[in-house]
């Protein structure tokens, strides 16, 4: 076949091909702001020539394929960085709440409560017989104990909040893995004819990125186009069209309903961040706060019980130590510290003196030696306090014995939370800028540029016009022929 019909066929084919190309451009323009969209392009190729009288004559243009300008390497890097960013972001936001517990820039702080407590002992020392001073001391001690209690409660509450968050996160992960498995199925089916399921792949990449924001994962694309997804610790979440769920039970996270905690396999993403807070950060602050409260109870009580009360009695406790085990384990001390029944509502039982009364029942106010000894605890820099370090999600706990004042110990604690929060903030902004950069790199390959698409549009429009012109010329040629009689 040749001749005018062939010309018309070539032009018709070209109109079709350019229409398709224009559809692809329109699709690109339509998706200019769609997150995760990968720019597509119609690949035009010349159609196979035909031989006519030993001449190879071209048969026009056809659309070979519609490809996407994908950048799998950067896309994977984006997924990984999304999981780091979310981990840091989560930690930074929880830490900034925690840090307000230890925020010593205000007035109602533990540090102030401790100062008031020691100063109240001074006042008692200045007037060991004074009921006003003794009552004030009990009030200050009560405020201090309550401050410890409320900080301890808030820390415990933070751990509970993390579990609530984890519950939500895990549901989200299960949803996502199910959808990824579904998309795997669709992509494998759509690509059976060796084409690329461009938009489905974009959708799946978006889901993978969202999954990374919840929990760090490793995804590997298989030969048939499906992806296999695993947790960082190696639990298979998606394989082909199958997916496996996570379950939360109390402090444990189970895989596929097997009652065996796999939470250590979950790192990165918001879930990783929450687990770090729950199992490392909060327990460490709690242990150290407990250590301080326990040391305070022990040190004050040791001196207090050797002193003498206003009525000449000895052996009275200042803080309730019924829960302080002999072993020296201070777990929970910040939570249970309170005044002992001996002194609660009974200021005369404060043992300010260290000299036994001359005669039993001697009601003269005693000395202030014991009060002075207790006051000296404030500046005693030979007190040994354990400082805990909790890492590896709570599986590694160690402590070092610090020899310092109790005030100094607490200051170290405040400094530590400040540094940790600062580091989390810095990590967050670093991860954010890394991710922004990667996003720009990805966009430079895969993103839509409107000016570029508009130029493309003009190019196609002109081609379309030219081919239409060919049809009208061919038509004129046909008419010329028909007029030959």
């Amino acid at each position: 076949m040749g001749g005018i019909n062939a010309i018309m066929n070539i032009a018709r084919g070209a109109l079709q091909a350019n229409q398709i190309a224009m559809e692809v451009v329109s699709h690109n323009i339509a998706n200019v702001n769609t997150p995760g969209y990968t720019r597509q392009s119609a690949v035009l190729e010349s159609a196979s020539p035909v031989s006519i009288n030993q001449l190879k004559i071209g048969t026009g243009v056809q659309v070979g394929s519609v490809t996407q300008a994908s950048d799998p390497y950067t896309t994977r890097a984006i997924q990984q960085n999304t999981s780091s960013l979310n981990e840091y972001q989560t930690q930074a936001s929880v830490l900034s709440q925690l840090e307000s517990l230890f925020n010593e820039t205000g007035n109602a702080t533990l540090s102030n409560a401790m100062n008031d407590f020691w100063n109240a002992w001074q006042d008692v020392a200045n007037n060991p017989g004074g009921t006003v001073e003794r009552t004030a001391l009990l009030e200050k001690a009560n405020i201090l104990a309550q401050k410890f209690n409320s900080m301890s409660n808030d820390l415990t509450q933070t751990k509970k909040d993390m579990n609530t968050n984890l519950q939500m996160g895990i549901e989200k992960v299960n949803d996502l893995t199910k959808n990824i498995a579904d998309l795997n199925d669709k992509i494998v089916a759509a690509e059976a004819d060796k084409t690329t399921a461009n938009d489905l792949r974009d959708q799946r990449n978006n889901l993978l990125q969202e999954l990374s924001s919840w929990v760090g994962n490793v995804s590997v694309e298989q030969g048939n186009g499906s992806v296999t997804v695993m947790t960082q610790g190696g639990n298979l979440l998606v394989d082909g069209n199958k997916h496996w769920d996570l379950q939360q039970s109390g402090n444990n996270i189970y895989y596929n309903n097997v009652p065996n905690d796999i939470s250590k396999n979950l790192t990165g993403g918001q879930i990783g961040g929450w687990l770090n807070i729950r199992d490392e950060v909060v327990p460490q602050y709690q242990s150290n706060l407990d250590e301080l409260a326990g040391t305070l109870i022990r040190q004050v009580n040791t001196l207090h019980s050797t002193g003498y009360t206003l009525s000449g009695q000895t052996g009275k406790k200042f803080f309730d130590n019924s829960q302080v085990p002999v072993s020296g384990d201070n777990t929970g001390a910040a939570g249970y510290i309170q005044l002992s029944a001996d002194v609660q509502n009974n200021p005369s039982n404060i043992a300010a003196g260290s000299i036994p009364p001359a005669a039993p029942g001697d009601s003269s106010p005693g000395d202030n030696e014991n009060a002075l000894k207790i006051v000296a605890l404030q500046t005693d820099n030979s007190i040994q306090i354990r400082q805990w370090t909790i890492s590896d999600r709570g599986t590694s706990t160690s402590n070092s014995l610090q020899t310092e004042t109790m005030d100094g110990y607490y200051q170290t604690l405040v400094g530590e939370i400040g540094t940790t929060t600062q580091a989390a903030n810095e990590n967050q902004s670093f991860a954010q800028s890394t991710l922004d950069n990667l996003q720009n790199v990805r966009d430079s390959v895969s993103g839509v540029n409107l000016d570029e698409e508009l130029t493309e549009l003009l190019k196609i429009q002109r081609a379309y016009e030219a081919n239409s012109k060919i049809i009208s010329i061919a038509d004129e040629m046909l008419q010329s022929l028909l007029q030959v009689q």
């Binding site: 200019v32 720019r39 830490l95 900034s96 840090e99 307000s100 925020n103 010593e104 820039t105 540090s111 102030n112 100062n115 100063n119 001074q122 006042d123 020392a125 200045n126 007037n127 060991p128 017989g129 000299i355 003269s364 106010p365 005693g366 000395d367 202030n368 030696e369 002075l372 006051v375 000296a376 404030q378 500046t379 005030d407 100094g408 200051q411 170290t412 405040v414 400094g415 530590e416 939370i417 400040g418 540094t419 929060t421 600062q422 903030n425 922004d436 996003q439 720009n440 966009d443 430079s444 390959v445 993103g447 839509v448 540029n449 409107l450 000016d451 570029e452 508009l454 130029t455 003009l458």
Partner: protein, 298 residues
């Protein structure tokens, strides 16, 4: 590099957010007047400021304690000076009477004068400050000195704390005896015994005894004067310490201020810079988003 259209907008958005966040941070500094508002703003400065405020709070308490001690010492000095004058006056009477036999009237008059001195001395020994007896050691609620018996059996008994001085803390591991116990200050001077002895001797017209008590009263006066100067030593110790604390506390306040308080000139300059950066980001956004190929196509 090929730049995608969303990249441009993302860039604009990031710049606006970043400059706004910077501006917000410096705003917080200026409006709170503090260099840091949470530990993570500057952990090192936070810990240092905590240490400084703790020391200041402690010094504040020492200063309060020192005021208490000062009250006690000032009162002690006045009282002891008066007691020493009482002893001296009694001794003069003894000297007058020891020069020869006096009429019964003169002696009676003198005896009652001495009795008056005795009561005055006991009264001074029982001086109270804010309801507390200052010469009873720790036994601040009972009068330390009491007159008992009469005539030959009259004695003054000490019922305060016999061993301990009333101590007040004026520094870390440093206390000062704000009130020395009456045993040390009064009983060891034998003032009361000498006054009682003198009274008896006058009543008995016993010249030898009068002379003896005159010597004793001289000893007592010397002893009491020594006590006055002892108080003086402690007063000056307190003063030195007080001056030291005033100076230290002023230094620490300055350090704390430097650490905590925002340098307004610098902060406002910084705020203006951030404000400019923010404005520039906004203006750039407005300009960039105006340009498009669409504007040139008809």
């Amino acid at each position: 590099m090929r730049v995608a259209t969303p990249t441009v907008y993302r860039g604009i958005e990031q710049n606006i957010l970043r400059t706004y966040s910077d501006l917000n941070k410096i705003d917080e500094k200026v409006s709170s007047g503090k260099n840091f508002n949470r530990p993570s703003d500057d952990p090192v400065a936070m810990v240092n400021s905590l240490g400084l405020s703790n020391t200041l709070a402690r010094i504040g308490q020492y200063q309060t304690n020192m005021n208490t001690a000062k009250g006690w010492l000032d009162t002690s000095a006045t009282v002891l000076d008066q007691v020493s004058q009482v002893a001296a006056s009694a001794q003069q009477i003894a000297v007058q009477l020891s020069s020869g036999n006096q009429s019964a009237d003169v002696r009676n008059e003198a005896a009652s004068q001495i009795d008056g001195f005795l009561n005055q001395a006991i009264g001074l020994g029982n001086t109270q400050l804010n309801g507390k007896y200052i010469f009873g050691g720790y036994k601040t609620a009972t009068p330390p000195f009491a007159d008992s018996g009469s005539g030959a059996t009259e004695t003054v008994v000490y019922q305060g704390d016999p061993k301990n001085d009333f101590k007040v803390q004026i520094g870390p591991n440093e206390t000062i005896a704000a009130g020395k116990n009456g045993e040390t200050v009064f009983m060891n001077s034998n003032l009361f015994a000498s006054l009682i002895g003198l009274k008896q001797a006058i009543v008995n017209n016993d010249q030898t005894a009068i002379q003896q008590e005159s010597t004793n009263l001289q000893t007592a006066t010397d002893y009491l004067n020594a006590q006055v100067s002892d108080v003086g030593i402690r007063q000056s110790q307190l003063q030195t310490q007080g001056q030291m604390f005033t100076q230290v506390s002023a230094n620490l306040q300055n350090q704390l201020g430097d650490l905590v308080n925002v340098d307004n000139n610098q902060a406002i300059l910084e705020m203006q810079q951030k404000q400019t950066a923010y404005n520039v980001a906004l203006e750039t956004a407005a300009k960039i988003s105006k340009v498009s190929l669409l504007d040139y196509l008809t």
